[in-house]
Assembly symmetry: C2
Homo-oligomer: 201 residues x 2
């Protein structure tokens, strides 16, 4: 077999830009932040669907695939909450290196924690979306029954009830899902994101 | 804007199979295991390059992007080594869900540790490649100067010197880089992997 050389070898690791050329898209992280029940996951799922329809490769990171997987050994202490976000940001960074449009849906309630994520991912790769649905609407929805438990004191340090949510200082987009339909929100998201992910031809 | 409905919404999370259709490939993990200096990274880098040339999207996970990132808070205790592999496997699983061909290059010296990775990733997604280069050749290469340090007792529990390497029981492919050129190894890798990642048309 020697010398047949069917696969010419280059010893340089494949770069992000090469993957982006293959995918005909630029990678980035769309970081949804907001209260429990604000609509982060709903919007992220709808956005991923809309992007797929246009041929874009996305990956959603949310509680379903993160808390049950890489972060299944973390609790809810302040230290663990920070480690939770750190790992999510590190995973998102790897996906961006792969050229993937990465959507994350986590409460991420403080400026400190979001600054940590931004620093890891890189500001140039980071699109911050503040899902600014009023607390009373989120509590009325109470999809997971968590607000009820928090009001009953069964959950300690629940964001919005017994623990603060700090509004982002300068988000790339703010959406209030009590005023906008999912379709309207997705349209605004697409307007914000498409210019960042399109490769100029 | 209401009712314009430019982006019809489906509330179902995008599935792996949909991403694979978009990418025209099936995701999997190619798990390289072997001694330090055996050639794991060299082969993974060359394989990724060869796959890219054929239009396949890959992501390499190795010490460079894992130990400096998601695993930068882990040491080398037995517990931390296990957590190191657990996190790598969880990250690889997320990439497989994204439809990406994921190449991992870590010593991963024991059957227990590789069984953990296989369990997380799923046997059906897991291609085990044993880079079975003899210890004396690895030590002769000593690219990172680690064998010298290990022999001098400066590194404790160094695989192959003061800590055992357990050969995989039933690897999908075994490659000895002291006998095969990189080109030959890549050809064997491609023969093993292409049938698993091709989407039948």
């Amino acid at each position: 077999m020697k010398g047949t050389n069917i696969y010419p070898i280059f010893d340089k690791t494949v770069q992000r830009s090469e993957r982006e050329t293959l995918l005909r898209q630029k990678g980035c992280v769309v970081w949804f932040t907001g209260l429990s029940g604000s609509g982060k996951s709903t919007l992220a799922i709808a956005l991923e669907r809309a992007l797929l329809e246009k041929g874009y490769l996305c990956q959603l990171l949310d509680g379903d695939n993160i808390r049950s997987g890489i972060n299944n050994n973390l609790g809810f202490s302040e230290e663990d909450r920070k480690e939770n976000i750190r790992r999510i940001a590190e995973v998102a960074k790897l996906f961006v290196q792969c050229g993937v449009i990465t959507l994350t849906a986590f409460i991420s309630p403080t400026n400190e924690i979001r600054a940590l994520a931004t620093k890891i991912i890189g500001r140039e790769n980071f699109v911050e979306v503040f899902v600014d649905t009023p607390l009373d609407i989120c509590e009325l929805r109470d999809v997971k029954g968590l607000y009820k438990k928090a009001r009953a004191g069964e959950i300690k340090e629940f964001t919005g009830i017994s623990s603060p949510f700090e509004a982002p200082v300068d988000p790339d987009l703010t959406l209030d899902t009590s005023r906008l339909s999912v379709e309207e929100s997705v349209e605004l998201l697409m307007n914000t994101i498409l210019p960042k992910i399109k490769i100029k031809s």
